[in-house]
C-alpha cells in the first residue's frame, strides 16, 4: 500500500494521534516554562545555586531519551506506564534550554543600562521585572522555541512507555517493517516541529528589542 493511500484511509487515527502528541508537548512545555523561567530568574544573583541548577539540568540532557523514559518507570508517584511518566521525562528534557536561555538573557543586558537603573533608585526587584526581564524576553523565547522542537521529537519516543502520540505509528511501523506506518508518525511530527518553529520564531522576532 502506498503511503498516501494509507494516510487517507487512517486520517482519523493520525489526526487523533497528532492531537494526543500536541497535548503531551503543550502540557510538558507549560510545566517546563513554569519551572525554568522563574528558576532562571531566581539564580541570576545566586552564583552557587546557578552552578547546581544548570548542572542538574545538563545531566538530564545527557541521558539518552529512551533510557530516561525507562528509568522513570519504577519511580513511585511520578513513574509508571503512561502519559504522566512521559510528561515528567519531557519536562526534564525541556528544562535545560529554557533555564539556560533565561539565565543568559537576564545576565546579558548592557551593563550601562543596569548601572543607570541602579543609579536611578530602582530596587533589585524593579530592575529584574522592569528592565532585565523585558530585555531578556526574546532570548528566553528562543530557549522555549528550541525546547519545543526537542520536545516534539522526543515525545515520539514516549509511545514506548504507552503514552500514545505519533510515536505509536513509528514503533508499530518499525515492528512491522512498514514505511507507510513510520511515515504516518514521522511526517506529522516533522510538520508540527516546523510549524512550532515558525510561529515561535515570529513571536521571538516581535519581542526583540535592539
Amino acid at each position: 500500500m502506498s503511503p498516501w493511500a494509507f494516510f487517507s484511509e487512517h486520517r482519523a487515527e493520525i489526526l487523533s494521534a497528532t492531537l494526543d502528541h500536541m497535548a503531551l508537548v503543550v502540557i510538558a512545555m507549560l510545566i517546563a516554562i513554569l519551572i525554568g523561567v522563574p528558576l532562571g530568574m531566581f539564580i541570576v544573583q545566586r552564583p552557587a545555586l546557578r552552578t547546581i541548577a544548570l548542572g542538574i539540568a545538563s545531566i538530564f540532557q545527557t541521558i539518552p531519551s529512551l533510557a530516561l523514559f525507562g528509568f522513570l518507570i519504577p519511580i513511585p508517584f511520578i513513574g509508571g506506564i503512561g502519559k504522566r511518566t512521559a510528561i515528567v521525562a519531557l519536562v526534564l528534557y525541556a528544562l535545560l534550554p529554557i533555564l539556560r536561555n533565561t539565565y543568559v538573557g537576564l545576565t546579558g543586558i548592557d551593563p550601562v543600562v543596569l548601572e543607570a537603573a541602579e543609579a536611578m533608585g530602582m530596587t533589585r526587584g524593579q530592575i529584574l521585572f522592569r528592565v532585565r526581564f523585558p530585555l531578556a524576553l526574546a532570548v528566553i523565547l528562543a530557549g522555549i522555541r528550541t525546547a519545543t522542537i526537542i520536545t516534539i521529537g522526543v515525545a515520539t519516543i514516549a509511545a514506548a512507555i504507552g503514552a500514545g502520540g505519533l510515536g505509536t505509528f513509528i514503533f508499530r511501523g518499525v515492528a512491522l517493517v512498514s514505511d507507510a506506518l513510520i511515515l504516518a508518525g514521522a511526517i506529522p511530527a516533522a510538520l508540527l516541529a516546523l510549524l512550532a518553529d515558525f510561529l515561535l520564531g515570529l513571536l521571538e522576532h516581535k519581542l526583540k528589542v535592539s
Partner: protein, 264 residues
C-alpha cells in the same frame, strides 16, 4: 528653553555633599586603592568638575556619593547624613545621574525613559506627562516629535539630551554626571556643553561633573578638582586653575595647546 525649575527650599546645611577622609579600596587580594583619604565639601549650587585621567578614581568618586559604593574608611555625607545610613533607594531617587552613552532603557520610549523616577515615586499620571513634556523642552527636544520614539531612533546627542531630561525629571537637588558628553562627536559635544552650561546656571542644582577634558571643565565648573591616582592634587576655580603650579595641572594644560609644528 523657557521653563523655570521649581527650586526647593534647602532643608540641609550649606554643604550638600561632604567627603570626610574617605578612602576606597577594592576588596580583592591586591586591595587596590582607588580613592585615598579625600576630604572635600561641595556647597549647594556648586558645579564641581572632577578632572582626571582614566583610572584616577573619578567614577568611583561619583558612586560613593549615590551609595552605589560605600567608603572603605571615612564618611560621605549627603545632605548631612552618611551614605551608610541612608536607605540607598531613597538616596538615589534624590540624585540625578547621567552617564556616557546615556544608559537609556531600549525597551522604553523617550517619554517612558524620562518618566522613570516620577513613576517609581508614584506621581499622578497627568503630572508625569506634563513633567515629561517640560523636561524634553528644557533639553531642546520637541515632545510631539520625540516622546514616542525609542532610544535606537535617536542620534547620540539626542540620546544624551534624553539622559539629562531623565536625570532631572523628579527635580533632584543633586546631579551627578559621568563624562556625559564623552562619546559624542566634537561638534555635538560643543553644542551640548554650551547648552548645559547655560542650563546648569539656571537650575540651581548641586552638580558633580566628571570629565577628562580640561576645556569642558573650564567651561562648566564653578570649581575644578583635579584627581590623580585617587588623591586630590589641585582644587581651584576655573579662572585660577591654569596658573596652579603642579605637574599634573601642567600635563592637562599641555593638552590644550596644539602640538608644535601642527598645521604649520
Amino acid at each position: 528653553m523657557s521653563i523655570e525649575m521649581n527650586t526647593k527650599t534647602p532643608v540641609f546645611s550649606a554643604n550638600t555633599i561632604e567627603f570626610r577622609d574617605v578612602s576606597f579600596h577594592i576588596n580583592d587580594i591586591l586591595a587596590r586603592v582607588i580613592i585615598s583619604s579625600i576630604s572635600l565639601a561641595v556647597p549647594q549650587n556648586e558645579t564641581l568638575v572632577l578632572l582626571g585621567r582614566s583610572g584616577s578614581g573619578k567614577t568611583t568618586f561619583l558612586k560613593l556619593i549615590n551609595g552605589m559604593l560605600l567608603p572603605s574608611s571615612g564618611q560621605v555625607l549627603v545632605q548631612g547624613r552618611p551614605t551608610s545610613v541612608w536607605d540607598p533607594i531613597h538616596l538615589r531617587r534624590g540624585i540625578g545621574y547621567v552617564i556616557q552613552d546615556a544608559g537609556l532603557f531600549p525597551h522604553f520610549t523617550v517619554a517612558q525613559n524620562v518618566a522613570l523616577v516620577p513613576n517609581l515615586e508614584r506621581w499622578e499620571p497627568a503630572r508625569i506627562s506634563a513633567r515629561v513634556d517640560e523636561m524634553l523642552q528644557l533639553v531642546g527636544l520637541d515632545p510631539r516629535e520625540f516622546s514616542h520614539r525609542r532610544p535606537r531612533e535617536l542620534s547620540g546627542g539626542q540620546r544624551q539630551r534624553v539622559g539629562v531630561a531623565r536625570a532631572l525629571a523628579a527635580d533632584p537637588p543633586i546631579l551627578l554626571m559621568d563624562e556625559p558628553f564623552g562619546a559624542l562627536d566634537p561638534v555635538t559635544r560643543a553644542e551640548l556643553q554650551r547648552e548645559f552650561s547655560a542650563l546648569a546656571r539656571r537650575l540651581g542644582k548641586t552638580i558633580v561633573f566628571v570629565t577628562h577634558d580640561l576645556r569642558e571643565a573650564l567651561l562648566l565648573a564653578s570649581r575644578i578638582v583635579l584627581l590623580q591616582s585617587g588623591r586630590i592634587v589641585a582644587s581651584a576655580p576655573p579662572q585660577d586653575f591654569l596658573r596652579l603650579d603642579h605637574s599634573e595641572v601642567r600635563a592637562f594644560t599641555a593638552s590644550l595647546t596644539p602640538l608644535p609644528g601642527a598645521f604649520a
